[in-house]
């Protein structure tokens, strides 16, 4: 008899629990309720020289908010001009905007700042106000070394690109020449590549980007008999360099970092650019066809650089709100523990706020266009 009672009790408890669970679920599906006026902020360049980049971010994220607000009538999350802070990408302009942003208690999270300089300048303010942020574009590696708990970066930082490039070159290269433009970005990237290549690197030099003549560097590569050349620098000089090599009859696989990821590289170098490999930490336009289609339907163009990343940033915050987190502290904790696939990659943050795992993409110039080749 005792046994029967026990079984009955177990059955009853299970049934109740099951019923309760189902009921709770049904309620969530019916209507997720949250405080009125909650919003996610944005900070970045929306005007000025780099205004297009910030606009790319806002556009990408807005796709996620449109979907959410359509599906959740009783839990509207604002993401519009009232919560956008246009810093023009400059640290000086961003600094006074940050306190205004954190003062708005309805702002629960921040997408951005878009660039590294402004992130460095404003991060202490967000940190003090416990405002969790996820940047879709600031890639300076040092940003994650400040002990900021609110800092998250959804794409690989500059230091991860070098190892990605080395991995890419090691697939085919036997003798590599490395050239850089002596800029902070170009030399920095080239130095990580140099370190990673080891004995594969047989020739090494530097060019002056202000110069028009790169013949000394080209002749050095030719004499060394390299099969692959890595260039650390920007597209304008990369175009001249790759053309100068082709003109001098140097046939090599040309490889460069995201400073060269620009159609103007191909426009300026012409046929010489064909076959070049270019890497980037940002995902290509077609990384997710569904996203690409939605983006095209709303804006009439393909997603541009940083749009997919911004969409992923938005998804992380919306997942937090879906889980019932409606204050900054709870959202910050949720973001720190987040681990789910995004459209650009698996989204999971290290304690420092870096996205975990490989996240460097390769492109190859094919038929005069930069064609995505996926994650290296």
């Amino acid at each position: 008899v005792r046994k029967t009672i026990r079984v009955a009790a177990v059955v009853a408890v299970t049934a109740m629990a099951g019923a309760g669970f189902t009921a709770g679920n049904a309620q969530a599906a019916k209507a997720l309720k949250c405080p009125k006026g909650i919003s996610i902020g944005f900070m970045g360049a929306l005007s000025g020289e780099n205004g297009a980049l910030g606009q790319n971010m806002v556009n990408g994220a807005s796709i996620a908010f449109d979907e959410w607000n359509k599906a959740n009538k009783t839990c509207q999350v604002k993401f519009d001009k009232s919560t956008f802070k246009d810093s023009q990408g400059s640290p000086d302009q961003a600094s006074p905007l940050a306190p205004a942003l954190v003062a708005d208690k309805n702002v629960l999270g921040l997408i951005g700042p878009g660039f590294s300089g402004e992130t460095k300048a404003t991060m202490p303010v967000f940190e003090a106000a416990t405002l969790p942020m996820i940047t879709p574009g600031a890639t300076n590696a040092k940003l994650s070394t400040n002990g900021w708990k609110m800092f998250h970066r959804i794409l690989a930082n500059d230091d991860k690109q070098g190892p990605g490039i080395v991995k890419l070159m090691k697939k085919t290269a036997k003798k590599v020449g490395v050239i850089d433009d002596a800029s902070e970005y170009g030399k920095g990237l080239a130095d990580t590549v140099r370190a990673g290549l080891g004995a594969l690197k047989v020739s090494d030099t530097q060019i002056d980007p202000k110069s028009s003549d790169f013949s000394a560097a080209v002749n050095q590569m030719k004499a060394a008999g390299v099969d692959t050349v890595f260039y650390g620098g920007y597209y304008a000089e990369a175009a001249k360099l790759v053309k100068a090599m082709a003109d001098a009859g140097v046939k090599v696989q040309f490889v460069a970092g995201d400073g060269v990821l620009d159609q103007k590289y191909i426009d300026n170098a012409g046929a010489a650019a064909e076959g070049s490999l270019v890497t980037a930490t940002g995902a290509p336009a077609d990384v997710n066809p569904a996203f690409q289609a939605k983006f095209k339907a709303k804006f009439g163009t393909d997603p541009a650089i940083y749009s997919p990343e911004a969409y992923d940033c938005a998804q992380v915050f919306l997942a937090a709100i879906k889980a019932g987190k409606t204050n900054r502290k709870a959202i910050a904790a949720f973001v720190a523990a987040y681990d789910a696939p995004g459209i650009t990659k698996q989204i999971k943050f290290t304690p420092e706020g870096e996205v975990a795992g490989d996240a460097v993409y390769a492109y190859q110039v094919t038929g005069g266009k930069l064609v995505p080749k996926g994650i290296i």
């Binding site: 002596a182 030099t205 000394a216 050095q220 060394a224 103007k264 012409g270």
Partner: protein
Amino acid sequence: MHFKVFLDTFWPNTIDGLSLGAIYALIALGYTLVYGVLRLINFANSEVFMIGTFGASSALWLLGIRTESIKTGPALIGVLVLMFLFSLLFSIATALALEFVAYRPLRRRNAPRLVFLITAIGASLAISESVGAFGSKKRDTYAFPRVWNTRAKIFSIGAGDVQVRNLVTVIGAILMMIALYAFVNKTRLGRGMRAVAQDSETARILGVNVNQVILLTFLIGGVMAGGAAFLYFLYYESTRYSVGFLLGVKSFTAAVLGGIGNITGALLGGLLLGLVENYGSALLGGKWKDVVAFAVLVLVLMVRPSGLLGEKLGRARA
């Protein structure tokens, strides 16, 4: 010291160094002539060159050449002549505009020499920044389609290939300089130039129209810069608003190296600088290229303060 790199790249670096050196030499003549006659360093000469490269590209644009189209025979000669004329036209117009707008008003007011120098630097910045701000591609590179297969190899010296562009640049520059030398030394107008260079007051008293001579000097400087622009454009097939800056500084260095005011000195200085840069770059590494160029200048000036061949245009010898 990378002796192996230096030896391996010796011939190619010599060929490319001489080619770029020839372009330096032509631009250097603009500095040298104006200095010889006016004792003025016309820093805006680099922009006279820059505008000239846009002249050559405008010719291609006007002809409707947008993609690579290799021409041969009369068609090629026609295109080249047009490009050359446009380069000259653009450069001469810029040089004369500088004289009329920037320098002549100052001379009329007897402005001190320092004012001329600052005006020259200001004019240089104003011109290049205007092109950067208002040009159709702003601060980006303007790349142009190939009309002449200047990359065809003619012969080799050691590991170095001599291409059509190398020969055209060096021979073109030398021909222009011979013409200039003959003009300055053999013609009546050239004699006027030399007279003003020696002593402008006495020349004026003896009936030389000094303002006309100065205008002529700017015009010839423009012709040389225009020629350099044409050759540069054939050689590199692209241009940019800032293209004159470093080339201008290097050409000025070449002029001082050879002896400012001295026509043969400009040629020698230009070729030498082109070679030394490439050799230094191979021997010490690419980042030392500019250091080597200016170190050589300092060393030469320590031994010969007026340059390798001295300041000749203004001397009584001619």
